[in-house]
């Protein structure tokens, strides 16, 4: 069944179809309508899910950590300052190996006060041990949530599903809603290995001496290293069942292009048009969409860029003092490789400014015209 729904409604559908047991969330623009949709369904009795009202995002995540330890499927959604407020609990969720799925609607972090799209919020949490998956459209949002629970519960790691504020969260698109019975087949009920059992009391995440702490971190890294394989299998199964697959990255455009443009989120959709138009004019350019940011898809990217002369990255985020975070991650992943094409790191669209086709075209032109970037950070559309 196809429905015209907003990105936030797609999120709610994803959670409903996943038969989440517990939702705990605190409202924040632009995430609010997700929580409204879910809480109203729960209050009306149509959704048999426990909704825990809390006074902050920190508590929302803390509540889910408790619930998830109890062995039930947990979901939350937040954005921007809300996500930042959760920071401590994000580490806890991953350290305790809890398969919580959270949606983050990308929004800039103030000041200056701003409610529009920007990836600084989710990327600030890149070291918290969460898997991060970025979405390009509303269909992908819904599908990614279903996949996220499978990946999380298989890999015993929490997953953050990310979508752009307003461009997706509040914009309606036609979305195929998969039938619940089909989703049930794809996503079986969650079974926890170490669920709380009052008949056999245990203490979870007890203090661990230096003797073993390193080993626990090693195990989390190993779990992260298994995610690409798990995610690949999940995506393949999803594709065979529902006809849609996404991969960790997606290379699009003609083969053997000299310039490759990397984007994430909704900028990819605009880039697809620009690249197609330029290719028709004979420009040697193709695109790479990065869906999975954590664990970083180094292998997949390296396979996709072999033979390319130059790499351009548009970052809708800024790590002040360094530059765009995707560009940095890409540079780091290439350093030990044989082929190391120059990386042109563009920064654009912060705080919700549109990344127009003209700006994208400008970034491709600059990359083509320069053998190497003149500066570490290339600002697109900056009013100097």
């Amino acid at each position: 069944m196809k429905k015209v729904i907003t990105g936030n409604q797609a999120v709610a559908y994803g959670a409903i179809l996943s038969r989440v047991d517990v939702v705990s969330a605190y409202p924040i623009t632009p995430q609010t309508t997700i929580v409204e949709e879910l809480s109203e369904l729960i209050a009306s009795g149509r959704l048999r899910t426990k909704f825990l009202k809390v006074e902050s995002e920190h508590s929302a995540m803390a509540a889910l950590i408790g619930a998830s330890t109890g062995g039930v499927r947990c979901f939350t959604a937040t954005s921007s300052h809300g996500l930042a407020y959760m920071h401590e609990m994000l580490h806890w969720a991953s350290g305790a190996r809890l398969p919580i799925v959270m949606v983050n609607v990308n929004r800039a972090i103030g000041p200056p006060w701003n409610i529009w799209s920007d990836q600084s919020d989710s990327l600030s949490q890149r070291d918290t041990g969460w898997i991060q998956l970025y979405c390009e459209n509303n269909q992908e949002v819904l599908d990614t949530i279903l996949q996220a629970f499978r990946i999380a519960e298989w890999g015993k790691l929490p997953v953050m599903v990310v979508l752009d504020a307003f461009v997706l969260s509040h914009t309606s698109e036609a979305v195929e809603i998969p039938p619940l019975e089909e989703v049930d087949q794809f996503l079986p009920p969650y079974l926890q290995e170490y669920a709380i059992d009052t008949r056999e009391p245990m203490t979870f995440s007890v203090i661990t001496t230096p003797e073993y702490f390193l080993e626990f971190r090693y195990k989390i890294q190993k779990a992260m290293e298994e995610v690409p394989q798990i995610a690949k299998k999940v995506d393949e199964e999803f594709k065979s069942r529902f006809g849609r697959g996404y991969g960790a990255i997606e290379r699009y455009g003609k083969e053997g292009a000299e310039v490759l443009l990397m984007t994430s989120g909704t900028v990819t959709s605009t880039s697809r048009i620009v690249i197609q138009k330029l290719a028709e004019k004979g420009v040697s350019v193709a695109g790479i969409k990065i869906k999975r940011f954590r664990p970083f898809p180094s292998e997949e990217i390296y396979e996709a860029i072999r033979g390319a002369k130059k790499l351009a990255v548009i970052d809708r985020n800024l790590s002040a003092g360094v530059g765009g975070i995707f560009a940095q991650e890409l540079r780091a992943s290439l350093y030990s490789r044989e082929e190391r094409p120059p990386v042109f790191g563009f920064i654009s669209g912060l705080g919700g400014r549109d990344i127009t086709p003209e700006l994208i075209e400008e970034s491709i032109r600059y990359t083509r015209e320069h053998p190497r970037p003149e500066e570490e950070i290339l600002w697109l559309g900056l009013k100097r």
């Binding site: 190996r97 245990m202 073993y212 080993e215 626990f216 090693y218 190993k222």
Partner: protein, 581 residues
């Protein structure tokens, strides 16, 4: 503590650090500096009830769906819930904390509901054995006398009540019209008392055939003869024909269902008797005009009575004082002076002062005087002691004569049914103390509700049960986060036209649904009603439950004394005290 497992490396280790041991050894309660504990306190309604009804508890019983349990609880203190639910001036409602939030609980309506519901289920009290105890005589079968008889019977004393009239009930039967208090309600509650074994000898006026002094057989006597003599106006022409006292008229109507009065009836007075008379006159299809020497502000009649009287067509003329009555051809001419209000007098009301030369006349076919009542003194034994028109008593109801007690209207100027019921109850305890040589004043102090003067005979009979701190919970101590405004459930009134046709009851008893809705509105000030807020909020899981219910005990091994339970209790049923160092 549990033993530690050694791992060679990561491959042997679980995903997360888990201890099969537990933290029970770590008694975090040791960190506590303040201690919460369950302690029921006194609700303002309960303290304000002269009859000592445990209002919060009986409403809780209603809310639990146990209306008969509610009836039994009221009966612990008061054998007249059907009467009080109808005619009490409900001071409980003026003190109700909910009044500061939206509207007070309709406590009187709930009490009436409980009484009527219990009677439908033929809720009867059982006869109590009275072997071997001292005999007690009670003079007067009004609310004070019958309340005293009831509680004495429950204390296993054989009681005889002497009543001068042919039927028991005193002022409840003679003075209150049946459109406010139907006779079957009164009969039902009196019969509940007599079925305990109380003997009522009607038609025996003490002071005529038998003197108080002749009641030698009895080890104690309680005088509860009320105040039923009309206080005269002391004006010329007052003794003429066709001039009646209000109480005499009401008594006639109550006993025979009818009375003869002229077409236009002037009623002098501003109290409840004046209202009862005026509204009865309307029901006799005559015109009623009340003449009152002060203004509406000072009127001692209950507001609802005044409102209903006006609805029914009673006219009230304020600031009018009769100074003489003249008669001409059967027509009465009432000479009056117009009044104005001066300074406040000793009653706290503004004193009416005549306006010179303002004389005017009011014509009437009948004149009824209802300007207050006095006590009958002729039969009182010598040396009993009187002051300002009432029998003088100690705090416990003792008179100057050993073994003789007095209560109700004869011994107070606070002439309400609820007060009479309370004073009868107190006298029953005082008589028990006297006969058992106990210090009654001390006993009374032990069982005061709040600061008194209301008291609980349940506590006298069952020391230590249902303990309750005498602290009266005020509005500021409640947590209003847990309440939403809701409409007070009123009693239905019969249509005006039907009301005026006869002496049928004006208001009807709440339906069960309305009573439950009203009961739900009760804040339950100071009394735990198992809302479980403490249990939900306690961060240390230290609120103990037993069989799925709040156990009213705190696990002090782990309670860190944060006080969340104390703050989140909507009704101050939890106290917090500093931990002894």
């Amino acid at each position: 503590m549990s033993k530690q497992i050694q791992f060679k490396g990561a491959s042997e280790m679980p995903e997360i650090s888990i201890s099969r041991g537990h933290m029970d050894w770590n008694k975090t309660g040791a960190w506590r500096t303040q201690r919460p504990f369950y302690e029921d306190k006194t609700a303002p309604c309960n303290a304000a009830c002269p009859a000592g009804n445990d209002i919060v508890s009986f409403i809780q019983k209603i809310n639990q769906g146990d209306v008969e349990g509610a009836w039994s609880l009221i009966q612990e203190e008061n054998p007249f819930p059907g009467v009080c639910g109808r005619v009490c001036f409900h001071p409980c409602e003026s003190k109700c904390n909910r009044g500061q939030f939206d509207e007070p609980i309709a406590i009187h309506a709930l009490e009436r509901f409980v009484a009527d519901f219990a009677s439908q289920r033929s809720k009867k009290v059982e006869k109590i054995s009275t072997q071997g105890k001292e005999k007690i005589a009670i003079i007067g079968s009004g609310p004070a006398g019958m309340s005293c008889a009831y509680h004495l019977a429950r204390l296993h004393y054989p009681v005889t009540v002497f009543e001068s009239q042919t039927l028991a009930g005193g002022m409840l039967r003679m003075g209150i019209p049946s459109y406010r208090l139907p006779k079957d309600v009164l009969d039902r509650e009196i019969s509940n008392i007599t079925s305990l074994g109380v003997a009522v000898r009607t038609g025996v006026p003490i002071g005529e055939k038998i003197q108080v002094e002749a009641l030698n057989d009895y080890q104690a006597v309680f005088i509860a003869t009320g105040a039923h003599l009309s206080r005269g106006l002391k004006i010329p022409g007052e003794k003429g024909r066709g001039i009646l006292s209000g109480l005499d008229l009401l008594k006639k109507i109550n006993l025979t269902g009818k009375a003869k009065v002229g077409e236009r009836v002037a009623i002098i007075g501003g109290g409840n008797t004046a209202m009862d008379v005026a509204r009865s006159v309307i029901r006799l299809r005559k015109k009623a005009t009340i003449l009152y020497r002060r203004s509406t502000e000072e009127m001692p009649a209950f507001e609802e009575e005044i409102v209903e009287a006006l609805e029914e067509g009673v006219k009230i003329r304020y600031l009018v004082n009769p100074i003489g009555i003249k008669e001409k051809n059967g027509l009465k001419r009432l000479e009056c002076l117009r009044m104005e209000l001066g300074e406040k007098d000793e009653s706290g009301r503004r004193k009416p002062e005549p306006i010179p030369n303002s004389n005017f006349f009011i014509e009437a076919d009948s004149i009824i005087v209802a300007a207050g009542e006095e006590i009958e003194t002729s039969f009182l034994p010598k040396g009993i002691g009187k002051r300002e028109g009432i029998v003088l008593t100690q705090m416990d109801g003792r008179t100057a004569i050993e073994g003789i007690f007095a209560g109700g209207d004869v011994a107070t100027t606070q002439r309400t049914v609820a007060y009479a019921i309370g004073s009868g109850k107190k006298a029953a305890m005082a008589i028990d103390c006297y006969l058992r040589s106990k210090n009654s004043e001390e006993a009374i102090r032990q069982i005061l509700i709040g600061d008194g003067p209301s008291l609980s005979i349940f506590r006298y009979l069952n020391p230590g049960e249902r303990p309750r701190n005498s602290h009266i919970v005020d509005f500021e101590e409640l947590n209003m986060d847990y309440f939403e405004p809701s409409k007070r459930q009123g009693e239905e009134k019969r249509p005006l036209r039907e009301r005026k046709k006869g002496f049928g009851e004006v208001t009807s008893t709440l339906t069960k649904e309305a009573a439950l809705r009203e009961g739900e509105r009760c804040f339950s000030c100071g009394t735990c009603n198992e809302c479980e807020n403490c249990y939900i909020f306690c961060p240390d899981a230290s609120i103990l439950m037993r069989e799925g219910k709040i156990f009213h005990q705190v696990d002090y091994d782990f309670c860190k004394g944060c006080g969340v339970c104390f703050v989140e209790c909507p009704r101050r049923a939890i106290s917090l005290e500093e931990e002894a160092r």
